[in-house]
Amino acid sequence: MSNYILEMKQICKSFPGVKALEDVDFFVESGEVHCLIGANGAGKSTLMKILSGAYTKDSGEMLFDGNPLKDGNTLATRKAGISVIYQELSLVNELTVTENILINNMPKTKFGAIDWKKAHDLAKQYIEMLDIKLDPNARAGSLSIGSRQLVELMKCLAADSKLIVMDEPSATLSKDEFNTLMRIIADLKKNGMTIIYISHRLEELFQVGDKVTILKDGKNVATEKVSDLNIDKLVEYMIGYKMTANQYKKAEVLTGEDYIFETRNFTNKKIRDVCINLREKEIVGLYGLVGSGRTELLRAIYGVDRLDRGELYISGKKVQPKNPRISIKNGIGMLPENRKMQGLVLVLPVWQNVIMVASRIFRGKLGLSYKRIYDKSRDYIKELEIKTPSEKTPTISLSGGNQQKIILAKWLLQNSKILLVDEPTQGIDVKAKAEIYKILRRAAEEGHGIVIASSELEELTSVCDRILVMFQGQIVAEFDKTEIEEAAILQYAVAGR
């Protein structure tokens, strides 16, 4: 009837507290490059995870090649001919290119052993097919990100995929690597491959795509031919408003006594000439799409990532962001993006995580005073309403929201003047979210200056005094509390202007 290779009809998916997808129609024609775009939380990942079988849909219908796709079954999806290349690639670093390409389809001899000669020939064929330079015997781990991505692509080809989903393939590529990728995508298309291309970078879509579907707040806003669109129109779809001219100028970074913290021209691989400042009792939001450099900026300020250039001033005094220890001494604290991996020692009890930074204040004549430690931990458990059976409970057994509160307690105890907060409420339920905002607000009132990086705009508009927008490693706009306008912020985050 139609030449749609993939038909996703009326797809709905809810998570506790959020409607991630609402009656989304998504049709992909055979042999086209179909781009999928949308701001943070628009539902791109959810939709693709439903396609790949990682999630099950609540309702709706999925047809691939005219046949219904099994729900929530990644293996069946792959067998049907759908491959997904995720941003964090899934190669085995210790294996060679050949082994990675053929990982599920190693040719066998008639005795059942691996036919290495045939395997190498096959791998060479794929490499020639893409017309690239690559040693089939090289270890995957020794390759550049761009080459690894191509190996991943060949893996999809070897698996006889008919549809390849590429999730943000360009985010980590160099200019040359990107051009190679563009050429290969064009070649594949010529050979009849269908590709779904997900990206934040709007210019790319015009280079690579035939059609584009725009998601916003879990709904399909539009599916159009790329040739009928321009960037302004695209941004309009993404943010739901007409793109307006540059009415918000980038604010001048002021220096002065009342700034407790200031960065000048912070530059490294991921960020460029970032100047931000912070007043006492102020909460500044850092908004940007995934990969815009939010996390990297906080890490650079905290001294985890190296700076190529830039200066940091604390209360007007120049300091070196060399390592976390020094930053802590300078009065900076960080609540990292990944709570479990970077924020907490999960096997240890609550009290020890609470005192991890400020443990020296419990030192008495005879070593650490446990009475004071337990008392103080209980104070924080009560004050921040941390739900735990006791201060001696292992942190691992608490919920995400309570774990985040423990990290907050850690820095409040240290009384760090400046708090860098990265995605404070990711994966946390609505009630705990509100409580965490309350704690942050109260901390600000008590004199802390806080920077919150987040991919949730509503979160920032509700707690921040000021919002800075990041785009491709730079601050592109600044909005004061009085002028906060979601559409404009989104526009800057998506289009950079």
Partner: protein, 327 residues
């Protein structure tokens, strides 16, 4: 409510002292099997025989807590014994000889620790290298020969008191070595619990990155754990040499495995961040009782080895079971 709370406390207590319970079970079994087991003299006997391995296991606890394993302890013990004995034989005062031996061990541990922390190499392999080299060094000190008759040297009396001396208490001879073992355990338990270094070690073992981001001195503390392991290994070796009154370069071979076993039985997690030296003390006792019991029963040592293996796995399983509902 009260009943359920009590039940929870009981569960907590069982969890916390599961190793202790295991020890008690073994003591009861041993007492029933042999009349001569539950006597003060046998207890002192165990203290004497297991003081050196016990002290070595204390240092091992530190490295395992920081999520490494020190394979070099046996070789370092032998080297320190040889160094101290040679110095004594060359006329150095006994105090200096002993202290230089300990410093030697601390130095080797520090070097191992520095290589591990600064180059981020696998502790298992780096300490394996130290193990091989230290054994070679121990052989080199005397060209592989033993140094005998230590007790006859100047200061030899004092030197030999360290590992073989005892004083009378309740009509039995309490070994000085055993007393040292318990004393060092107490000091180290204090360090682990009451200092920022100690607590930092748990943080490093539990999650190095989180510890680093919280400003814990990861490199310094991690290296110090290896320094301590080197020093306790050295002291254990010197004590063993002193007890035997003969210094031999082949001393304490295989001790690293017993030490690891004791630490693990004592409830310290190989992944780091969990456990302590108190548990290790109990772990050594459990291993000691098994040997002691089999000796008292006059069974060949092959049975001991088989049974020890079973106990190691059993203790691991026990730890697993008691920590399962934390997840």
């Amino acid at each position: 409510m009260v009943a359920s709370l009590n039940k929870e406390t009981v569960v907590e207590l069982i969890k916390k002292y599961s190793v202790m319970l295991l020890l008690i079970v073994f003591v009861i079994i041993a007492s029933m099997v042999s009349n001569s087991f539950f006597t003060l003299s046998n207890f002192f006997n165990i203290l004497q025989s297991y003081a050196a391995p016990g002290i070595i296991a204390i240092g091992m606890t530190f490295t395992i807590l920081s999520s490494g394993t020190d394979l070099s302890v046996g070789s370092v013990a032998a080297l320190a014994g040889m160094v101290s004995a040679s110095l004594l034989a060359q006329g150095f005062p006994v105090g200096i000889s002993i202290i230089l031996g300990i410093i030697m061990g601390g130095l080797l541990g520090t070097i191992t620790g520095l290589i591990i922390t600064f180059f981020q190499l696998e502790p298992f392999i780096v300490s394996l290298a130290t193990m091989v080299s230290a054994r070679g060094l121990a052989m080199l000190t005397t060209d592989g020969k033993v140094i005998s008759g230590l007790i006859k040297l100047d200061g030899g009396d004092t030197f030999c008191y360290l590992g073989g001396g005892s004083f009378e208490i309740l009509g039995e001879r309490l070994p000085f070595a055993g007393l040292t073992w318990v004393a060092i355990t107490l000091v180290m338990a204090y360090i682990l619990k009451y200092t920022n270094f100690g607590r930092g070690l748990y943080a490093i073992g539990g999650n190095k990155e989180a510890a680093l981001l919280s400003g814990v001195r990861v490199k310094l503390f991690n290296t110090l754990a290896w320094t301590i392991s080197g020093m306790t290994a050295a002291y254990g070796g010197i004590m063993l040499t002193s007890w035997l009154t003969v210094a031999q370069p082949t001393l304490a071979s295989g001790f690293e495995l017993d030490a690891i076993a004791a630490v693990v039985i004592g409830g310290t997690a190989m992944t780091g961040g969990k456990g302590g030296v108190g548990g290790t003390l109990v772990g050594v006792f459990i291993l000691a009782i098994i040997t002691n019991l089999f000796n008292l029963m006059g069974l060949p040592s092959y049975y001991q080895q088989i049974f020890k293996g079973i106990i190691i796995v059993g203790a691991l399983l026990l730890n697993r079971v008691v920590s399962i509902n934390e997840k």
